[in-house]
Amino acid sequence: MIAAGSPPGVRRLIVVSGAVSIALVVAIGVGLAVGPIPIPANRIGGALVSYLGLGHSTLNPTQSLIVWQIRAPRLVLGLVAGSMLAVAGASYQGVFRNPLADPYLLGVAAGAGLGATLAIVKVGSSALIPAWTPWLAFGGALIAVAATWFIGGRSVRSTTATLLLAGVAVSALLTSVQTYLQQQASAQSLARVYIWLLGSLAGASWHSVGIITPYVLVSLGVCLLSARALDVMSVGEEEARSLGVRVRHVRWAVVAAASLGTSAVVSAAGLIGFVGIIIPHALRLVVGVSYRRIVPLSLVLGAAFLVLADTVARTVMAPSELPLGVVTALIGAPIFVVILSLRRPS
C-alpha cells in the first residue's frame, strides 16, 4: 500500500507555511510601527488590543492619526495589492502554462497606463494626480482585457497561444497611444505619469481600500478555488479535457478573476511590477509545482512582501519616497537569484 498521505514534501510545506505566516505578521508589525515618526510597537499593540475592549490605547492623538489614518490604510492596501498581484501571477502562469506570465499579460498594464495617462495629461493645471485617475485606470484595464478576450479567447478554437498573442497586440496598440499622449504632455504632467506608472501606495485611504477590496476578495476566491483545476491543466489542455475538466470555463473564470482583481489593485496603487512573477516562482522552487500549494502561499507571501517593500520605499529616503516598483525589483531580484542558486535538482 502506498503511503499516499505522507509524501516527503509535507514537512517542507509545513515549514514554508510557517515561515510565510511569520513574514506576514512581521510585515504587519513593521508596516504599522516603522516610519519617519517613530511610534513604539508596544503602544501600537496596546491600541490594537484596546479595540477588543481590553485596556486602553496609550497613543497620543497625533500618533493615533498617523497609525490609523495614514499607516493602517496604506498597510491594508499593501496587503490587498500584494496578495492579489502574487495570486494573479500564479494563476496566469497556471492557466497559460507559461512561467513568464504575469498579471499584466493580457493588457491590464497597457489599459490602466493609458487610462491613467489620459486622466493626468488632461488635467495639466493640477499639481496632484486627479481624483478620477483610478477610475480611468480601472476602466482602461478592463476594456483592454475584454478586447484581448474578444479577439483571441471567445472562439471555440481559441487557445492560450491565441489569447496571449491578442494580449500582445492590444498592449502594443494601447501603449503606442499612451506614448503619444505622453509626448504631448507638459513636463509636470509627464513626471506625474511616471510616478503613477512606477507604482505607489502613498495615495492609500480607507476609501480606496474599501472600493477595491470587494473586487479583490472575489478574484482571490475564484483563483483559490481554481487551483486544483490548474494542477490538472498542467498536463495539457486536451488531456485535462479527457480528465473531465471544462478547460475553456476554467480559463475564462481565472482570466476574468485575475484581471478584475489586478485592474482594481492597479487603479489604486499604479503598476507595481515583479510581485506577480517573483512570488509564485520563489514558492515553486521551495514547495513544488502544485498550484494548490502555490496559490494560497502566494496570497500570504505576496502580501508580506509588498508591505515590507513599501516600508523600505517610504523610509530609506524619508520624507521623500522611492517608487514602489523600483523597490520590489531591487529587493526581489537578489532574493530570487539566491533561491534559484540554492535550488536542489530533483
Partner: protein, 268 residues
C-alpha cells in the same frame, strides 16, 4: 460496448474518417492499424470525445459520447494520447492521482477511496518504487506505465490508446501490452488502441481493423486481417507473414515493389 454509426470526421474539405461503423464488445481488445494518415488517431480521438464527428454517432454503453459532460465522459472513457505531456516537477503519485479527478471533481479533495484506487493501480503497474520521484526523471518505459496508470486510475470500463508503445524498446513494448492484456482478461477492460507494429497488434488484439484513407478496409480476426491482401494495399508495400511458434510475424519484403491486385481485396 463502443459503437460507431456512420462516423465521418472532416478537416476543412479533407475527409479524415469516412463513414465508419463498428462495434467493440465489452472486455475485448480491438486494435486499429493502417499507414500514417489513414485516420487512426482522428478516429480514436473522436471515440474519446476530443474530436466531434461531422456526421454519425459514437456511443459507449448506449450513451452518446458527445452529449455527455466532460466529467461524465471521463468517468466512462480514459484516453492515452500518443505524446502525453509530462509536467516537470510533478511527482509520479500526483500524476497518477490526476486520474481520480473525474470522480472527486476539481473543487474537492480526493477521498479515501481515491487514494486507495491510486495505490492499487500503482502496485498493478509496478511503480511503487517511483511514487515520490519527479515524473521527468523516469525512463520512457516507466513514463508510459505511469501514463497508463493515470488512465487506469480513472476506473473506466473503456481505455482508448493512441500508439501506446511508440518510442519504447521491445521489452518495454511487451511490458505495456502485457499489462493491458492483464487488465482486459482480469478486469474486463475494453481496449481500443492504434498500433504501428503489425506483429504485436496481431499478437495482442482480439480483433484488428485496417483503416485506409479514413475507411475500414479490413475488419476481423487478427490472423485474417494480417494475411489479407488489403494489408499490402493499405501500406503500399509487399509483406510476408511467417508463422513462428504459433505467432504470425509480419515481415516487409525489401526490394519487392507493391503490385495492385487484380480484384478488389474487399472486406475480410
Amino acid at each position: 460496448m463502443i459503437r460507431l454509426e456512420n462516423v465521418t470526421v472532416r478537416a476543412g474539405h479533407r475527409v479524415l474518417v469516412d463513414d465508419v461503423s463498428l462495434r467493440v464488445e465489452p472486455g475485448s481488445w480491438c486494435t486499429i492499424i493502417g499507414a500514417n494518415g489513414a485516420g487512426k488517431t482522428t478516429l480514436v480521438r473522436a471515440v474519446s470525445g476530443l474530436t466531434r464527428p461531422d456526421q454519425g454517432r459514437i456511443s459507449i454503453q448506449g450513451r452518446d459520447v458527445h452529449t455527455l459532460s466532460e466529467r461524465e465522459r471521463a468517468r466512462g472513457i480514459a484516453f492515452v494520447p500518443q505524446h502525453p505531456e509530462i509536467p516537470s516537477g510533478m511527482r509520479v503519485l500526483d500524476y497518477v492521482s490526476l486520474g481520480r479527478v473525474p470522480h472527486h471533481g476539481v473543487m474537492r479533495a480526493p477521498r479515501v477511496l481515491d487514494h486507495q484506487v491510486v495505490a492499487d493501480v500503482i502496485e498493478r503497474v509496478d511503480l511503487g518504487a517511483f511514487v515520490h520521484r519527479d515524473v521527468v526523471s523516469l525512463s520512457g518505459g516507466e513514463r508510459q506505465r505511469m501514463v497508463l496508470a493515470r488512465a487506469l486510475a480513472q476506473g473506466t470500463s473503456v481505455v482508448v490508446l493512441d500508439e501506446p508503445i511508440t518510442g519504447l524498446d521491445v521489452r518495454h513494448q511487451l511490458s505495456i501490452l502485457e499489462l493491458l492484456q492483464r487488465e482486459v482478461l482480469e478486469c474486463g477492460l475494453t481496449v481500443l488502441a492504434t498500433l504501428h507494429d503489425l506483429t504485436l497488434a496481431g499478437q495482442f488484439a482480439d480483433r484488428l481493423i485496417l483503416l485506409h484513407e479514413g475507411r475500414v478496409l479490413a475488419d476481423g480476426d487478427s490472423s485474417c486481417v494480417i494475411r489479407s491482401p488489403a494489408l499490402a494495399q493499405s501500406y503500399g508495400i509487399e509483406v510476408a507473414v511467417v508463422n513462428v511458434e504459433g505467432v504470425d510475424v509480419v515481415v516487409p519484403r525489401v526490394g519487392v515493389s507493391y503490385r495492385e491486385p487484380r480484384g478488389n481485396p474487399g472486406k475480410v
